[in-house]
């Protein structure tokens, strides 16, 4: 082995520039794992000895020690370039784990705190006349569904048609302006959308206005650009060949769009629309401003205040009654219900995209 390497190198010297050896020292595959285990044990022992033991400290300190130790070891054995590569790999992986930590923590916290009141009563009673324990979020669930449904009914046609205009018809200044302002709308803070709806309705109903429908309008402002963007992306990936095939059969443009372009992209559009609904169903700020809160059921979005899950969660937590616990429990359960709705919508969106995509086989 060593003779072989020597011969290679001596040959290389004769032919001028030295060829680097193909064989390079490398850490065995078990080494990083050994380092990882080692740093855990060492840090654990160290923390236990100093008496400051906590899981968080252990994980953080071990990760740091692991990264540093691997770098040093690799630098000694494998050289600086490989060591830098290993270090970055560790850092990037750690970053991903750090990013996931809040997601896990949020889910664990909300489930842990929310299960206490995740019972039948929560889903079939409102807060009318309830002081202290008992009661539920039925009125808020109803409000959330009505307001979001109304927002969807207003946003989806406008969003779809706008996307169709931008992709199939739009050219020139108007299309560019719409594209730009849709981008601008994507960035509107939700609270500003709420202020807009308030300003609009205050004009007709006076300054104290609180309406479920006003909430829907605010959510629409937030939802329309999302629908436009998602639909636009989907329409753009429909191959032009299909449009031409339909035109060549003597089909008018609008029927081509309705019967060929949209059916081809409907899975993606439906998935995008579902995600848009998921995006606005958890909005709190605009509803806090224009829909307000009430303790009782209200099925009429055009009359009076309407409770919604996010606002219910917020006010229960921020302004609890006495004793505090039942209010906090209800807040967490409302958050749990909200998370479940959003997760289900996300799942549904993925399923739609997968199941209803045009089949090729």
């Amino acid at each position: 082995m060593s003779i072989d390497t020597e011969r290679q190198q001596s040959g290389a010297e004769v032919t001028a520039p030295p060829v680097p050896s193909l064989v390079r020292a490398e850490l065995p595959t078990w080494a990083p794992w050994a380092v990882l285990g080692g740093s855990f044990v060492v840090i654990g022992a160290l923390l236990a000895a100093t008496g400051g033991f906590s899981i968080g400290m252990l994980v953080v300190a071990s990760a740091v020690v692991y990264a540093v130790a691997t770098y040093v070891l690799s630098r000694v054995v494998e050289g600086g370039r490989k060591a830098a590569d290993r270090l970055v790999t560790i850092v990037v992986t750690l970053a991903f784990l750090i990013a996931l930590a809040p997601l896990v923590s949020v889910v664990v916290t909300v489930v842990g705190n929310g299960l206490a009141r995740f019972d039948v009563e929560f889903f079939n009673s409102s807060m009318r006349g309830v002081i202290g324990a008992g009661g539920g979020g039925y009125h808020a669930i109803v409000g959330t569904l009505i307001i979001t449904a109304l927002a969807a009914v207003m946003s989806i046609p406008v969003g779809l048609l706008t996307a169709v205009y931008l992709v199939e018809y739009g050219k020139g200044r108007l299309a560019r302006a719409i594209t730009f302002f849709v981008d601008v709308m994507t960035g509107i803070p939700s609270i500003v959308a709420g202020l807009f709806a308030f300003a609009l309705f205050a004009l007709f109903f006076g300054p104290g206005v609180r309406l479920g429908f006003a909430g829907s309008v605010a959510l629409s402002v937030l939802m329309i650009p999302v629908v436009v963007r998602a639909t636009e992306e989907m329409l753009k990936i429909v191959p032009n060949e299909l449009r031409e095939a339909a035109f060549a059969l003597g089909t008018p443009k609008w029927r081509t769009i309705m019967k060929v372009v949209i059916p081809t992209s409907i899975a993606g559009i439906a998935s995008g629309v579902t995600l848009a609904i998921a995006r606005v169903i958890g909005e709190t700020a605009p509803l806090l401003i224009v829909a307000g809160l009430t303790t009782g059921l209200n099925f009429n979005p055009f009359e009076g205040r309407m409770a919604t899950l996010p606002v219910f969660a917020y006010t229960s937590y921020a302004a609890p009654g006495v004793p505090r616990e039942p209010y906090l429990d209800r807040a967490w359960t409302a958050a749990l219900v909200l998370i479940i709705i959003v997760l289900v919508l996300n799942l549904v969106a993925r399923l739609i995209a997968r199941l209803f995509a045009p089949k090729t086989r």
Binding site: G187, P189, L200, A313
Partner: protein, 317 residues
């Protein structure tokens, strides 16, 4: 050549014959687009109209008896401070996460991991608010004390340490969690668009994975990272509920991140004050909302400008 161009101008193409259905359909599509412009104009117009009374009112009538500028300025300070902290934390993390998903994770897992990060964006902000105040705030008490003990000479960690943990630092971290998926999504997209040719060229030169990323991926994705960060900044500036729930705001203008004496943010202040406000106080809040609108508009327009400029120069198309 001139003759042909003249001919073109003289003989504009004849209007194509359109069926009725086509005209109705095209018209309604166009109408929807115009409606969006009208709505946006409406947002601006109504906000201005409702902010007007506060703008023209004498300072004595406004909440706190201060001028409108004196009322809004500390809020702007708080808004920008919170958003910048979030940006500082989230951007490097998001770039690393995007790199992990696009270049480190096993191919087969990559998409699923992407979904996980997207789920982070799906969690409603109110839930983050509750989580921030119930979990994150107490969890940072130890860290805050440590920062105050050892880095107390920095104005950021001057203390006194808040006992509830409802500090600017916690708000910043929570906002960072919320904007992380936004920045990650944009960064992930541009990293995936890195021309395979460049990556393979770097690898063929004997680069390690990290060297390849530094040579090919990061330079290509730089403007994408910047614009993603700007979009995240826009979101952080306008975020309401997390701030309203977590922050114990006193209206102080301070860089101190770990005390209970914090500047509020525009959005958080509106959420806290609005439900109980009447008359001119409402107009004042709307005026502050208008300021927020303008700030986020500028940030987002800048982000879009960077994205679009990149699109023009990118060789991908």
């Amino acid at each position: 050549m001139t003759t042909t161009t003249e001919k073109v101008i003289a003989k504009a193409p004849p209007k194509p014959v359109l069926q009725l259905g086509d005209r109705i359909f095209a018209g309604s599509a166009k109408g929807a687009g115009i409606l969006i412009l009208v709505v946006l104009a409406g947002v601006a117009a109504f906000l201005i109209a409702q902010a007007m009374p506060a703008i023209v009112a004498s300072p004595a009538d406004l909440p706190g008896g201060k001028t409108l500028v004196a009322y809004i300025a500390p809020l702007v300070f708080g808004t920008i401070l919170a958003a910048l902290i979030a940006l500082l934390i989230a951007t490097p993390l998001a770039v690393a996460v995007a790199l992990f998903i696009t270049h480190y994770a096993p191919r087969r897992l990559a998409q699923g991991l992407g979904y996980l990060i997207d789920l982070l964006a799906a969690v409603p902000s109110i839930v983050y608010g509750l989580w921030g105040v119930a979990v994150l705030a107490p969890a940072t008490l130890g860290l805050s004390t440590w920062l105050n003990t050892y880095l107390g000479w920095l104005p950021f960690f001057a203390g006194p340490v808040s006992v509830t943990g409802r500090t600017m630092l916690v708000v910043g971290v929570t906002l960072a969690v919320m904007i992380l998926p936004i920045i990650t999504a944009v960064a992930r997209e541009v990293f995936l668009q890195t021309p395979k040719l460049h990556e393979e060229a770097a690898l063929a030169l004997g680069a390690t994975r990290w060297e390849m990323i530094r040579m090919a991926v990061l330079p290509f994705g730089r403007s994408g990272i910047i614009s993603g960060a700007m979009l995240g900044l826009g979101r952080a500036l306008g975020e309401t509920m997390a701030v309203a729930i977590i922050l114990s705001a006193s209206g102080a203008v301070t860089f101190n991140l770990i005390s209970s004496d914090n500047p509020s943010t525009i959005a958080g202040n509106i959420a806290l004050q609005f439900p109980d406000s009447t008359g001119l106080a409402v107009n004042t809040l709307i005026a502050s909302g208008l300021v927020l609108f303008v700030i986020t508009l500028l940030v987002n327009a800048l982000a879009r400008y960077i994205i679009n400029r990149r699109r023009e120069f990118s060789g991908a198309n």
